[in-house]
């Protein structure tokens, strides 16, 4: 057995280890951003895979929505499948405020978060009586209904009907004090690797893309921070108690109704934030983006990352944003007939992932990764 590194929680070494991990993470994020700010592709064989910031921004949007699912499904144990409803609600509210009232995108969060929170709480009220499979059924129905609600004639002036709501009147402009050009040119001077970072200063579009990516990453980071605090606090413990056994949670004095409603509210608010980020990135809210298929795909993200793990949300978001796209840009694999590569290969892969992971790795990728990590790092808890 290889030598194991033991780290005691709460010591200076542990703090250094945490800081080192986070710095690595942030630096690699920025490097990826600078390397792929123009339409970046990775080539494997004769196929090109898109890894532009647009994809990554979408991944951030899905990540935030999946984070919401982690709260309600992963930590509270309520089988709620309707996250796409709140994702869509957030997206449409934001699109309406931006397009018709010329608000800036980030300001719309001030409206979207409280209203999605309230809608989530109200729609969560039936969940106090409805449990398990019935809740799954109802929330799935909710997700299926959303596109037809948006397409209603009466709401046409607000939602733009089947054509969708354009928000292209608002542009993200990077503030001039950010040293994007300098950093980019600095990176280009690195020997051997400089070529990966393009050439010359960034254009306006690239700068705006970069700015969006950084903004969205910050929003996602704030969401992660808030949710992880929530999970570790008293209401979070109450949620986990409900997940493990509802009856025993009630007997230990946990207010079931309040805790469940809170978790629905938080999940829906996060879904709304995800929707805002999504529409801010793609510039249009169209009804069929928020169908019940999206609800299932978000569940795929939840399961692939790992139910009940916060970092799983990030992996889930990346998986959903990248795999269907990469599957459809795979034009040729020598041993597969062409027919299997055209058509909904992405959804086939996601479905298989869902089944295979549930069968063989119920904790998702994150649990698998933790198992591997345990071979090399042992983090002892403070009390031991």
């Amino acid at each position: 057995m290889a030598a194991k590194i033991h780290i005691q929680e709460g010591t200076a070494t542990y703090r250094k280890y945490r800081i080192a991990m986070w710095t690595c993470f942030i630096i690699s994020l920025l490097l990826v951003a600078f390397a792929y700010v123009d339409v970046g592709t990775i080539s494997i064989g004769s196929n090109k895979y898109n890894l532009s910031l647009i994809r990554l921004d979408k991944a951030i949007a899905f990540t935030i929505a999946i984070l919401g699912l982690q709260v309600v499904v992963g930590y509270t144990g309520q089988i709620a499948l309707g996250q796409s409803f709140f994702f869509g609600t957030g997206a449409y509210l934001s699109a309406w405020l931006v397009a018709d009232h010329s608000w800036p995108f980030l300001m719309t969060l001030l409206i979207v978060i409280p209203s999605c929170f309230l809608i989530g709480m109200v729609l969560g009220l039936p969940a106090l009586r409805i449990r398990g499979l019935y809740l799954a059924l109802l929330t799935f129905g909710l997700a299926a209904v959303f596109p037809s609600l948006v397409k209603l004639d009466k709401l046409y002036t607000y939602t733009g009907g089947a054509g969708g709501k354009l928000t292209s009147n608002y542009k993200f402009v990077a503030p001039s004090w950010l040293p994007f050009d300098e950093v980019a040119q600095g990176l280009q001077k690195i020997p051997f690797l400089g070529g990966y970072f393009g050439d010359g200063p960034l254009s306006d579009r690239e700068e705006s893309r970069m700015w969006k990516f950084i903004l969205f990453s910050i929003i996602a980071a704030i969401c992660f921070w808030l949710v992880s605090n929530l999970i570790q606090s008293r209401p979070g413990r109450a949620m986990r108690a409900i997940r493990d056994n509802e009856t025993s949670a009630a007997t230990s004095g946990i207010n079931l109704a309040a805790t469940k409603t809170l978790s629905f509210g938080v999940a829906s608010a996060l879904g709304g934030v995800g929707g805002v980020v999504y529409v801010a990135e793609i510039g249009i809210a169209s009804p069929d983006d928020f169908s019940s298929l999206l609800a299932i795909y978000l569940i795929v993200g939840l399961v692939v990352g790992g139910v009940g793990t916060l970092s799983g949300a990030l992996i889930g978001g990346l998986v959903y944003a990248l795999i269907p796209d990469w599957a459809s840009s795979t034009q040729s694999i020598s041993f597969l007939p062409q027919r299997w590569l055209q058509g909904p290969t992405g959804s086939l892969i996601l479905g298989l992932l869902l089944i295979i992971l549930t069968l063989f790795l119920p904790g998702g990728v994150v649990t698998g990764w933790r198992r591997v990590k345990k071979r090399f790092f042992q983090i002892d808890s403070a009390t031991s």
Partner: protein, 296 residues
């Protein structure tokens, strides 16, 4: 008045097909207290197999029977490989598995038969049984309703008069006791899944044979929600409840929504979801279902 009567006939047409799918849901729920989200997709796959067989020159009803057998065997296989190893009281993994099946079956059907809608051969004589003024009762409506009732009678007989039916009812009422009395639980549940898939395939074939509809991989998305609502409304463990639920949903969809002025026409799916919500809040066991009692 003419219009109302016409709408009622439409309600019966749609309601019967929802009822057939709802019966499939009910069979699986009875056996395993699981709602199979992939039921609609399994049925769609079965209907595509029927279409393919017919293309190859097999007579229509023969194709339907072979298609039903095919999806029954497939469902038994899926139950054995994917469902059985999970604890039936822990719902989340099971829901996730059926959602995964949903995606996989949908994608496979779309890869094999493509997305473009195809017309389905007619299962029943075309034309109208009678037409007075503007009221037309088509043969399709009559036959769809009749086949729904026949299926229910056959299932009813199967469950009450045969040995495997007895075993099925024993398992659905209490797994532990039936295991103690020597019933093979696995085989019985597999039988339930096969039966459900066969009923679903028949339902999807009849649904697709509707002269105004065509068959395509996504045709069951709407029907899934509507038939699940029908099943919940009738009581998730009641066979005849599925028929009542199906007809009610058909009625809500084509009569209530059309006649209440402030509900727009596109709301038929939403109306179904609202019905579902009301049923689940006020009478979770549905109209004919048995009430669940939780022992502590």
């Amino acid at each position: 008045m003419d219009l109302l009567l016409q709408r009622v006939f439409d309600a019966v047409t749609n309601g019967s097909t929802y009822a057939l799918l709802a019966v499939a849901m009910v069979l699986i729920f009875k056996a395993t207290t699981l709602i199979n989200f992939a039921q609609g997709e399994q049925a769609m796959l079965g209907a595509f197999v029927v279409l393919q067989l017919w293309d190859w020159g097999i007579p229509m009803w023969g194709a339907v029977v072979i298609g039903m057998c095919f999806s029954g065997i497939l469902a038994a296989f899926l139950e054995r490989t994917l469902i059985r190893k999970f604890d039936p009281t822990d719902h989340l993994p099971l829901v996730i598995i059926t959602l995964g099946l949903f995606l996989v079956i949908n994608a496979i059907a779309a890869i094999i038969w493509r997305f473009d809608p195809k017309s389905f051969p007619e299962l029943f004589p075309s034309g109208n049984a009678f037409a007075i003024n503007n009221v037309r009762l088509s043969w399709y409506t009559i036959f769809a309703f009749t086949s729904c009732v026949i299926v229910l009678f056959v299932l009813q007989t199967l469950l009450t008069k045969t040995k495997i039916g007895l075993a099925f009812r024993a398992v659905s009422s209490n797994i532990e006791s039936s295991r103690l009395s020597g019933i093979k639980i696995g085989t019985t549940l597999q039988f339930g899944w096969a039966l459900a898939a066969a009923a679903g395939t028949l339902g999807a074939s009849i649904y697709a044979a509707n002269p105004v509809l065509q068959i395509e991989p996504s045709m069951m998305l709407r029907a899934l929600i509507l038939s699940v609502t029908a099943a919940a409304l009738g009581g998730l463990d009641s066979l005849w409840g599925a028929l009542i639920g199906g007809l009610t949903i058909g009625f809500v969809q084509s009569v209530v929504v059309q006649y209440i002025p402030f509900i727009p026409n596109e709301m038929s799916l939403s109306a179904a979801v609202i019905v579902l919500l009301i049923v689940l809040i006020f009478r979770p066991s549905g109209v004919l279902g048995t009430r669940a009692v939780e022992r502590v």
